[in-house]
């Protein structure tokens, strides 16, 4: 049994997942005292018919919805201010983010702007500077997601906003909305969610409640990711991945990002690679490094990854090794399933070896103080070669 001396956990997110989940939005909005929602999405998502489906879900509710469907791939603060003005001028009283990535960031930061009714958003960027509840915010993901969507974080330009009030009031995961996507997007999002949940499950900030969210997320990803890539019609698998992402975000919001998350973002940003693909490559090595440092929780990862039978028949001192090997095997299976599209090492991702020191230096400047230059470099070098880190 693991019980920390002290812990805090806060998760205001109501999740509604499954068949006809969309149709529950009007009554849930009503419970949030909202009658005039603004749906925020992108042209790409709207073009796939998602807007039509969500509008259909409002039929018979008597609600008139506003739709703004022009969120760009790289929004900026000026754009947020423009959308916020539309929200105010049209007298909306809640935001429904339809999609993922920048759409959710826009919706979250817009919620700060309209709730605080301020222009200088930059003043509220940082950790826990938003201290009052925001307006009703509903999230409807249209792909499996990374976990960021349900988390306490939102990013725009070079600003990161962090507050529990940024977490959605309601997440609606409906199988009709979760469409088959390009393999690389599915792997990138699922590996980000796996990183968030595996790091939440093994980091010092873990607690029994983050464990519950992280456990389910890891289990869903381990059971479904490879199959979803091999079998594009696996609707149930896609729904499980979307649920895993939502849970990973809740776990992440109550722990802290760790070495894999930090390095994955730095490598992705420096070499224009999807961050989740980088996190997938780095995850086994990051977990190995962390288990060398503070070890005992990594062994517990085997239970959600492999199930009771495998966990019970693996001796205690081997569990961490077997769990890490399972993640490496998953990477190999994804490589095979995508015919080499998903790289297994940083070398395969075409990250030059001579740049590893630069990456480590950048990670030191923006990452957790728990890890030093040598720590980052060790993980990077082993992830480049695909060679396990020897246990001390």
């Amino acid at each position: 049994m693991f019980l920390p001396d002290n812990y805090e956990f806060y998760c205001p997110v109501k999740t509604n997942s499954g068949n006809r989940a969309l149709e529950h939005i009007p009554i849930d909005l009503d419970a949030l005292s909202s009658r005039k929602p603004l749906i925020v999405t992108s042209k790409d998502v709207a073009g796939k018919g998602a807007v039509k489906k969500i509008v259909n879900a409002f039929k018979d509710s008597g609600i008139t919805v506003g739709i703004f469907d022009a969120v760009p791939d790289v929004p900026d603060i000026k754009f947020i201010e423009e959308v916020s003005n539309i929200y105010r001028n049209k007298e909306h009283d809640s935001i429904v983010a339809l999609g993922g990535g920048p759409i959710v960031d826009v919706a979250k930061i817009m919620n700060i702007a309209v709730s605080y009714n301020i222009q200088g958003l930059k003043e509220l960027a940082g950790d826990d500077l938003i201290i009052n509840p925001l307006g009703p915010f509903v999230l409807v993901p249209t792909l499996s997601g990374t976990g960021y969507e349900t988390s306490r974080f939102a990013k725009i330009e070079n600003l990161t906003f962090s507050s529990h009030f940024l977490m959605p009031d309601l997440v609606v995961i409906d199988p009709r909305m979760i469409k088959a996507e390009d393999s690389q997007i599915v792997v990138a999002t699922a590996m980000t969610a796996l990183t968030h949940s595996a790091e939440a499950y093994t980091c010092p900030a873990k607690n029994p409640l983050t464990d519950t969210y992280a456990y389910a997320a890891i289990q869903y990803i381990a059971e479904n990711l490879v199959n979803v890539i091999e079998e594009s019609k696996d609707k149930e698998g896609r729904l499980a991945l979307a649920n895993a992402a939502a849970m990973a975000g809740c776990a992440l919001s109550n722990t802290a990002v760790d070495i894999v998350h930090t390095l994955g973002e730095v490598v992705g940003d420096m070499f224009d690679l999807p961050n989740g693909i980088c996190m997938g490559i780095l995850l086994p090595y990051g977990l190995e490094y962390s288990s060398n440092k503070n070890g005992y929780h990594t062994a517990d990862l085997l239970l959600p990854l492999a199930g009771f039978d495998e966990y019970a028949k693996t001796s205690e001192n081997l569990r961490a090794r077997v769990a890490i090997n399972m993640i490496t095997e998953m990477q190999h299976d994804l490589y095979d399933a995508t015919r080499g599209e998903i790289p297994r090492t940083l070398e395969e991702a075409e990250v030059p070896r001579y740049m590893l020191q630069d990456i480590a230096e950048k990670a030191v400047s923006c990452g957790s103080p728990k890890f030093d230059f040598d720590g980052y470099l060790t993980v990077l070098e082993h992830a480049w070669e695909g060679k396990p880190i020897a246990r001390n």
Binding site: V55, G62, T64
Partner: protein, 176 residues
């Protein structure tokens, strides 16, 4: 502003009409079953005097209202909840959830378990209503469909089921 538009939510008249007809018929069938089936009769006897409940769809109906009159007889009391004292309100959260229930893709118990209903009133009375609905569905529906709609299909004798079914259909259609 070119990327902004307002869309008024439309309506689903056919689905709403289907659910309205089903509620109307089930309401009359509850009245009939309370006269024919001893278990249902006993369930209603255990409820308070002049107990009335409604089962409907949010927002704005349709509804069915069933209750006990002053003589203790179970009566279907129409589809208008306005102006009636209702002890227990059971509201299906939306029309699509009602369609799942009334096309027997989800049983009443499963619909409640999946948070598709709101219960305003005593939960123990709601449990009674769910048990009554299960029995009514067994009478009204062929075994193949009823097995989907109820928690556990009962082992009834031929006479109990088929004579009971004929009497309930007859009474429901004639409304007594």
């Amino acid at each position: 502003m070119a990327d902004y538009r307002k869309v008024a939510a439309g309506r689903k008249p056919f689905k709403r009409a289907y659910v309205a007809v089903m509620l109307w018929f089930v309401g009359r069938a509850i009245q009939a079953t309370a006269r024919v089936d001893k278990v249902v009769k006993k369930e209603f006897e255990a409820l308070p005097e002049e107990f009335t409940f409604s089962l409907g769809v949010e927002p704005g109906g349709p509804h069915m209202i069933v209750g006990k009159n002053k003589k203790g007889r179970v009566k279907y009391m129409g589809w208008e909840p306005e102006g009636k004292h209702i002890d227990l309100k059971m509201e299906i959260k939306n029309l699509e959830a009602a369609i799942l229930m009334f096309t027997f893709q989800e049983s009443t118990a499963i619909a409640i378990a999946r948070d598709r209903m709101i219960v305003d009133g005593e939960v123990s009375y709601a449990c009674t209503v769910v048990r009554v609905l299960d029995i009514v569905e067994v009478y009204l529906l062929p075994r193949l469909i009823a097995r989907l709609a109820v928690k556990r299909y009962p082992l009834w004798s031929f006479r109990h089921k088929y004579i009971g079914r004929a009497r309930i259909y007859f009474r429901s259609i004639l409304g007594y």
